[in-house]
Symmetry: D2
Subunit: 342 residues, 4 copies
C-alpha cells in the first residue's frame, strides 16, 4: 500500500507501447529525430498557440533550467516557502540560475499578489540586493491545491507589473487540469504564465517532462543550458515518445483524473473518522490528513506507506497520502478500512 509518492508506480500501457513503437531503426540522436521535432506541433495544438518545447528527463531539471532562462545570476525568484524548488531540489534552481529564492507565505501552499508585494519590499534595484526577476508557483501546489485561472491572472498581473516573469512548476499540472474545468490555455498563457514545466512522469510516464515556453524570446538559451546541465538525452526520441503518448487522446489528464478521484474518495472516508481532519482542501491527488501519532502508526502497521508532511507535535502529525494513476483499488479499500478501524 504505497501512498508515499505519485512516483511510486511505473508507466501507463500507452507509454510502453509508444516506447516500443519508437524503436523502429536508426534516428538522429540528441533530439534531431522526427518524434522530438513533432513535439512543437503537439504542444502547440494542446495550448492553442505556437509554443517552444524542450523535453527533459526530470522535473528538477525542468524547473531549474526554465528558471535559469528567466533570471541573471544576481537575480531573485519569489516562490512559496513550501514549494518544491525551495525545499526539495537540493538547491538546483540556485545552481542552474545563480539566483536567490525568496520564500513567500501563503495558505494551502498558494501564493498571492499580496505575498508577492511583500516579498518584493526592499528589493528596490539597489546593487546591494539581489534583483527580482521571476515568480514561480506550483500547479497543483505542494499542498495539492489548485490555482483557478482568475487567481493566476491576478498573480501574473502583479508579476508583470513589476517586469518579472511567471514560471509554473507543473509537476502535477495534469492533476490540476483534471480538477479545473477549463482549457490548458486558460490555465496558463491566457492567465499570464510565461513558462510551464509540464510534468508527465507523475501522471504515468517513465521519465519525461516538457518545458513549454509561451514566449519564444525567453527560450533562446535553453538548448545550451540543457546540454551544459547534462540533460540532453542522446536517444531523445524515447523521451519525446512518452510525451506524445501522454498527450494523445488526453491521456495525461485522464490518468490524473483517475488519481484525483482516488484521493477524493480517501479524503471523504477519512473525514468521517473521528480524530482525523483535512489539513488542506483535497483538490488533486494528495490528501493531507491531520491525525494522531497512534493512528498513523496503526496505518503503517497495517502496511500503509506514506510521509509525515508535518512532524508530530502534541501527539498529532499531518500525513501526506499520495495517489497515482495505478493505485490499486484494493489498497484504497484496505487503507480506508484501516483508518476507520479503532
Amino acid at each position: 500500500m504505497n501512498f508515499a509518492s505519485d512516483n511510486a508506480y511505473g508507466a501507463l500501457p500507452e507509454v510502453w507501447s509508444a516506447l516500443s513503437a519508437a524503436d523502429h531503426g536508426a534516428e538522429m540522436a540528441y533530439g534531431n529525430d522526427s518524434i522530438t521535432q513533432g513535439l512543437t506541433a503537439r504542444f502547440s495544438d494542446l495550448f492553442e498557440r505556437q509554443v517552444t518545447v524542450f523535453p527533459v528527463l526530470t522535473g528538477t531539471a525542468a524547473n531549474a533550467l526554465a528558471l535559469a532562462c528567466l533570471t541573471p545570476s544576481f537575480g531573485a525568484i519569489l516562490c512559496h516557502r513550501d514549494s518544491h524548488i525551495m525545499t526539495s531540489e537540493c538547491g538546483a534552481p540556485e545552481f542552474f540560475s545563480g539566483a536567490k529564492l525568496i520564500g513567500l507565505e501563503g495558505k494551502d501552499g498558494k501564493i498571492t499578489p499580496e505575498a508577492i508585494a511583500e516579498g518584493l519590499a526592499g528589493l528596490d534595484g539597489s546593487v546591494h540586493s539581489v534583483q527580482p526577476r521571476a515568480v514561480s508557483l506550483s500547479q497543483a501546489s505542494e499542498w495539492g491545491t489548485v490555482y483557478k485561472p482568475s487567481e493566476l491572472a491576478a498573480i501574473s498581473e502583479a508579476v508583470h507589473a513589476k517586469g518579472l516573469k511567471l514560471h509554473m512548476d507543473g509537476a502535477r499540472f495534469a492533476n490540476a487540469m483534471a480538477y479545473l474545468n477549463c482549457s490548458p490555455a486558460d490555465a496558463t498563457w491566457r492567465a499570464g504564465v510565461d513558462v510551464l514545466c509540464f510534468g508527465a512522469t507523475k501522471a504515468g510516464a517513465l521519465a519525461a517532462e516538457a518545458v513549454v515556453f509561451f514566449d519564444k524570446g525567453l527560450a533562446g538559451e535553453f538548448g545550451f543550458r540543457r546540454k551544459r546541465g547534462g540533460h540532453l538525452a542522446s536517444k531523445m526520441r524515447f523521451v519525446s515518445a512518452q510525451l506524445e503518448a501522454m498527450l494523445k487522446n488526453d491521456l495525461w489528464r485522464r490518468s490524473a483524473a483517475q488519481a484525483n478521484g482516488v484521493a477524493g474518495r480517501i479524503a471523504k472516508a477519512l473525514e468521517q473518522v473521528p480524530g482525523i481532519e483535512m489539513a488542506a482542501p483535497v483538490e488533486t491527488n494528495m490528501v493531507f490528513a491531520r491525525m494522531s501519532v497512534g493512528k498513523a502508526a496503526k496505518l503503517r502497521a497495517g502496511g500503509a506507506i506514506f510521509h509525515d508532511w508535518i512532524p508530530a507535535q502534541n501527539g498529532k502529525l499531518v500525513a501526506r497520502i499520495a495517489t497515482a494513476f495505478a493505485t490499486p483499488e484494493e489498497h484504497v479499500a484496505k487503507f480506508i478500512a484501516l483508518a476507520k478501524d479503532n
Copy 2:
C-alpha cells in the same frame, strides 16, 4: 544507413524486457527501490571488489558529476584536447565542478604520462593558477582507440604520484572491453582508475549510465550533487533495470563486440579502396577514414549518414563511421559496395 552515432539506434530486447519486468507495482522512488539497491552487488561482482555505484541518465551527467567529486572549484582537470568532456559537453564538467580543463596533445586520441607531465608544468601550487586535481581519459577514446592495462597503469602512476585522481570516461567502455582481452578489473582499478563512468546507452540501453567509484571516499558528495544537478530520476528503478539487464550474461560486452566487429569489417573493406586510408587504428566501433570530398559526397548521395570528423582540407576529409549493436547487415554491405564503386 545511419553511421552518424552509436546513439542512433534504440535498445536491446533484453533491455526492453527488463524495463517491462520492472513495472511490477509500487516501489519507493528516487533510487530507494530494490533494483537500484541491488546494483552495488551487480557492479561489485563485475569488478571483483566492493564499489559504490550511482545510476544516472546521460553520459554528460555521469562525467560532470564524477569529476565534480574529484576537484574543488579552483581545480584543474587534465584531459585530451579532443576529449568529449573538452569539446562536446557545452562546458558541463566546468559547470558542475568549477574546475578548468587543460587539453593535452596525444596521438590517436590517447594521453600519455609525458603529456600529463607537460600539462602540469607551471601548475605549481601557487595561488595564481588553478590546482590540478584530476586526469580524465576516455576508454575507448574519441578516436576509437583503446588504452591497454599497461598504458593505464603508466598513466595512473604519473597521476597518483602528483596526488591527482584518475577518471575514466567509459561512454564506450563496453567497446574497449570487447577489444581488450582482460577483466574489467584489470582495465580499471587494478590499473589505477579511481572512478569510471560506465556507459550503457551506446551499448544498447535507452538512457542509463553508471558512475562507479572504486574509492568510496571520493563518493560522499555524489548523491547531493546528483540531486542538485537534476539527475536523480524519480522512477530510478527503470534506469537501474537497464543497467542490470546490460550486465546480465555479459550483454554489455557482447553487444559492443557486435558493433566492433561491424566496424572492423567496414575498415577492412575501406582500406582496400584506393584513395581511402584509416586516420586512426580501428579498435572499436568507429572508423575514421580519410577520403576525398567527392567520395564522401558519393557515399552520402547513396544514403549514408556520417559526420566529418575533420573538415575538408585540400580536398580530403576524415569521415567518422560509427556502428552500433543494431547496425543492419544490409547497411554494412551497401555502404561497402558504395565505397568500392568508382
Copy 3:
C-alpha cells in the same frame, strides 16, 4: 551631517601614517611582504592563540570567502533574516559558496539556539534538501546589538552539536568589543566562534578587513578562493599596514568606543523627545529611532542624512542614525537640537 553609514568618513591619522611608512621601497607583491607576513603574530597576540589570517579589501569579500570555506555548494548557511549577508551583499555568499542562506527570526537582529533549531527542522540529511553546514551571526548585529559571550557560547554549542561551523561577521566587531567588557578571545573562539571577519574599515581604515580562522583546518582553501575571487591585492602590504595600525595600541577598539559614545549620547537625547522611541537597544554606534514621517523630514530639511531602516507605515518610520570615529561633535549637537525642536 552624515549619519548614513559608518563608512561615510575616511581614515584615522594613524592609518595614514602607517600607509605612508609602508611605502619604503620595493617589497614582494601579493602578500609576500613583511607587513603581511607579520599579521599572523599581530592577530595571534590579540586573540591569545595561534590564528590564521588573511587580509582582504572589503567586508563582503571577507564574509563570502570565509563562508565558502565552511560549506560545499550543496550546503546551507543559517543566519538572521535581517543579516547583511542575507540582504545587502547581492548574493555574494551564495555566489562564492554555492550554498543557500536560510533566514532565522530573532529579536533585535540576534539569532538564538531556538531559532537555529527551528531553521534546521526538515534539513535532515536527505539528498533532496540542502545540507546545513554553517551558522553565521553578526557582531554587532545589523540592529546594533551585541551578543554577550554567554549568548555566543549557547549558540556555538547548538551549532557544534549539529556538526556545523560558526562564522562571525565582524564588520562592527570593534563596536561590539567596545561595548563588551571582555577580551577578544572571550568573545570569539573561547565562545566557540570558528572564523571571524574582523572589520577595520568601519572603525577607521580605508579598506581593510581580516579573515581570522581559529581553526587552521578550515583555512586551506582560502588563499585559492581569494585569488580566484580577485581579492588578492598586488600591493597587499598597504592593506596589511592598515590592519597593523588598527591593532596597535588598541586603536580599533578606542576608535569604535568613540563612535559608540556618540551614538549613546544621541540616543539618550532622542529618547527624551516626545514621539521618538528606540526600536532597538543602543549598544554600539547605531541608533534605530522610531519617529514620525514629519520628524524625519524635518531632520533631513535641517541637513541630516540617514537611512529609513523600516519604511513609513501609519505615519511612522524607523530611522537608522549611524555614527563613526570621525563624526563631528558639532553635527551631533546640531542633530540633537534639530530633533528636540518642534
Copy 4:
C-alpha cells in the same frame, strides 16, 4: 634590487596627495561620492567620447567582471595561451563568467586574426560546444609587447565579424600607451575595443583599476556583478581619487614612460653581454632575457630579484626583468654592472 614585478613598489606622491585630499569629511559610501561620480567625465575626456566607468580594486576583478558582462555561462572567451587571464588568475574569469577560456597561439604574446579564426574552428553554434562570445587581448601583452592600432583594428574586425566582443586587459595599458605614439582613443575604441580594463596600480596607484565600457549597452550588469563579487569598496572615493590623480596631467603615461625607459636601458645593456639575448622585443617595462642558469644565479647572488619566465632547459632560462615607476637608478646601474661582469 627588486625586478620581480611592477607591483613591487608603492605609490606615486601625487597619489598620496590625492588620497589625503579626499579625506575631507563625510561622503556617501559605495561610490555615491563626488569623486567617483566625476570619473565618468575624466575618462570621457581622456577617451574623447562618452564612456561608462567602474572603479575596482584589483586587476583580476576588473578582467573577470568585465568579461562576465560579455558572455553567458555557456560562452567561450578566446585569448592568448600565455595571457594573465588564462594562466595567472586562478580561474577568476571562469568563476565570474562561467565561460570557457580557449588559448590561442601567437608570437611574442600577441594574438592575430588568424589565430582567432583557428580558435573558432569547430565552435559552430551547436549546443554540444561552448559558444564563443568574446576575445580578450592584453595591452601591453604578457611578453611586454604592444599591439599597434592597425593590429588592433584587424583583430577587432575579425572579432566583430563573428558577432563577438573585444576585451582589452590593460593592466599595463599605460606602458603600452607610453610606447605608442597615438591617443588612447586611437588605441582602443577607434580600433574596435569594446571594453578596457584600465590599470593604474602597476603605473603607480595603490590599488585602483577602472573598467571602461565604450559601449554602454554592455555595462548594464556590471554594478550588480561588482557588488556580488565583493568588489564594491565602501569608501570608494579613495579608489576613485587614485584614478583621478593618475589621469591628471597625464601622470599615468608619464610614470609608465619612466618605467619603459628603464627597461629599455637594461635591455640595451644586456644585449651587449655575450650569452644573453632578448626572448621578445622590449617595448614596455619588461625585459625577457635568455641567459645561462649560471648568469641568472650570479645576478641573484648579487641581490637581483626576478622571475624565471621560462624555466631552465639545456642550461638556459628566460628571466623576466620588470621595472616600475620607482625603480631606483642605482639598482639599474648595479644590475647592469652585475650582468656585464664575468
